[in-house]
Amino acid sequence: MTKGLPTLPITRRHALAGLAAGTATLAMPGLLRAQSETIRIGFPTPLTGPYAAEAKDQVRSAELAVKLVNDKGGIAGRKVELLVRDDKLNAGEAATRTLELIEKEKVHAVVGSLSSAVQLAINEVTRARGVIFVSISQSDTINEVKDFSRFTFHEALNPHMTTAAVAKHTFKPGMKIAYLVADYAFGHEILRGFKRAQAAIGATSVGEILHPIGAPDYSTFMPRLRAMKPDILCICNFGRDQANSIKQAVDFGLNKQDRIVVPVLLYTQRLGIGAEAFEGVVGGANYYWRLQDTLPSAKAFNDAYKAAYSGAYPTDYGAYGYTGVSSLLLAMAKAGGTDTDKVIAALEGLTYDVAKGPQHYRKCDHQSVQSVLVLESKAKADTPEEADPFRILAVEPASEDILRSCAELGFPS
């Protein structure tokens, strides 16, 4: 007999809570209400599309950072809220969502993005609106004076430091390198970085093939890559593309003839596709949970993450969500609120160690100075624990020496 009668999803508890909140609002003077206003952080990231797995981890870790702060009473008595939006890996969509977050939701800062091209679109919007943006996706351009915004802080590694570290531990003088590269900003920057490192080391390039982002099939590139007879096949792409291209390279037997190297070795993709395809693949990373063997901050992060997400370990790109949001919230706590200039000053003066050892934002370009890990994917036989697929080959310590100098980026010295 309920046909036609809409039932409202309101329980007695909801009603009581609403009543209480309403009374509280009425009773509260305007000034007090402004002070206790929630701190809102916008978080655009590609929840759908080929980078969805990494984006999901970014969100989970960012939510953890917010939860931990709220559990301790928030910032200056204010609760923190994360507003997640799907940017669909599309620069236009990201700009629209970011504008919406700023104009409609009145966010106090933006953290997020996962694609160099999309990140630059968000950077345009936040720069024009004077809103703080902590970007957590790799980019070299964002460091350069042309795209610099004093409101933007770059928490992620950049292609320059990543490729230098990876090349240092894989390329040898006289080696022949073949490149398969995603045809967009990230791929181009990674390729540029590897070729710079390759020239310094004395290796040579035997070919570069560009593929469209999100391509499902790489078979047509494989015979040619094989014919190049490289010592190293360097696959410069991201997300699902990484898993698909590595798997297909292995299907064609390319791993038997050469070693596969990637700029960032992705935890989610390796777990997804399995040990066989990734065996012996070497790549960089901002984070791997086994850092906990030497770093107490990594242990604390892992433990909090495992407690929140039923025993799962945080991932590389997930950690960006955590370190990015944490650094922002630490700066807000130091600044005593959300005043943009004060928070910028606090971020510039901040040294933080929340997951991977000490980090700080370099003054000139706001790049986070941090360690770079070089990882190798283990063989199935060497992986007794499913969640521990990588071996840490090296940790390049946090140092400005692995970044391009401020002068090279075009900043006045």
Binding site: A52, L210, F221, P223, A227, G272, I273
Partner: protein
């Protein structure tokens, strides 16, 4: 450029085209017989891949997934035809088009809710893993298997359409459904089966593609665009056209990838433009049809 590399590249193109043929055939059959431009075809390809993965994980065997998923999704296709599309036949051609367009979104979102956004790996069945030495170079055994399966399906389809009574009815129904009705043939039932067959073929394409490319909710979008290009080049509604154009596109993409990789995605559209200029009805299409 040596001959072996070119031969390998040709072969890669055939393997790539084989999947396209499966998708384009279904699209073409449905358009040719029912006059429905099925925009949900790519989504059903994706549903086929997920169904294959689901059945394979339940039974522990890729083979059950390969066998049952196309049947299951084909039956689902018949349900779609019966419940959603049939009421629209008397209306303009745009209505089923809009319906299937919306249906594609619904299917993609449903899969996202059920299986997540991130996509899933689909391991190559162990019996078919590894590389075969073709004499001209190495080629994944699984891709050889895909070419074989598609060849067998094409043969069965040809036999079914040319040598059976049902095939005769289908071919006649495509030419003039009115006369068929007058002759006492239940055209509605034929169309139901044809739609199910078309959907089953694309689902089979999805299951076959899954171990090569892994499975994700967006995997149908690109395939749909490619399949449309194939049907336009081959001629809308022409089955021979779908097969020839599918292989042609696969080989064209592959050869372009060898000489100018950046052009590999554009080449099929260039080819389509060329065909439309020279022969607007497509290579095997009849003039005046769409």
């Amino acid at each position: 450029m040596d001959a072996e590399l070119i031969a390998m590249q040709l072969f890669s193109g055939v393997a790539l085209g084989a999947i396209l043929v499966m998708v384009a055939l279904g699209l073409s059959i449905i358009f040719g017989m029912l006059g429905v431009v099925n925009f949900a075809h790519g989504a059903l390809f994706m549903v086929g891949a997920y169904a294959g993965l689901w059945i394979a994980s339940l039974t522990g065997s890729f083979w059950w997934g390969l066998l049952l998923a196309p049947l299951l999704v084909g039956a689902f296709g018949m349900l779609i035809e019966r419940v959603l599309i049939r009421p629209l036949y008397k209306r303009s051609i745009d209505d089923p088009l809009l319906l299937t367009f919306g249906l594609a979104y619904v299917l993609v979102e449903a899969v996202r809710i059920l299986f997540g956004n991130e996509g899933m790996p689909f391991p190559t069945p162990p019996e078919l893993a590894g590389v075969a030495d073709l004499g001209i170079g190495y080629f994944p055994i699984y891709r050889l298997f895909v070419v074989g399966v598609v060849a067998v399906v094409l043969l069965l389809l040809w036999l079914g359409l040319e040598k059976t009574k049902f095939g005769l009815i289908v071919r006649a129904g495509a030419r003039d459904p009115q006369i068929m009705r007058v002759l006492g043939v239940d055209v509605a039932k034929v169309w139901l089966l044809v739609f199910g067959l078309g959907v089953g073929l694309t689902a089979l394409g999805g299951v076959l593609a899954a171990p090569m490319r892994s499975v994700d909710p967006e995997m149908g979008a690109l395939v749909l665009a490619e399949a449309f290009v194939v049907t336009v080049i081959g001629g809308m509604g022409s089955l021979v056209g779908a097969v020839v154009a599918g292989l042609l596109i696969g080989i064209a993409i592959s050869m372009t990838a060898l000489f100018a990789p950046e052009m590999a995605t554009i080449v099929m559209f260039a080819l389509m433009a060329l065909v439309l200029l020279v022969r607007p009805q497509g290579l095997f299409g009849k003039p005046g049809r769409a």
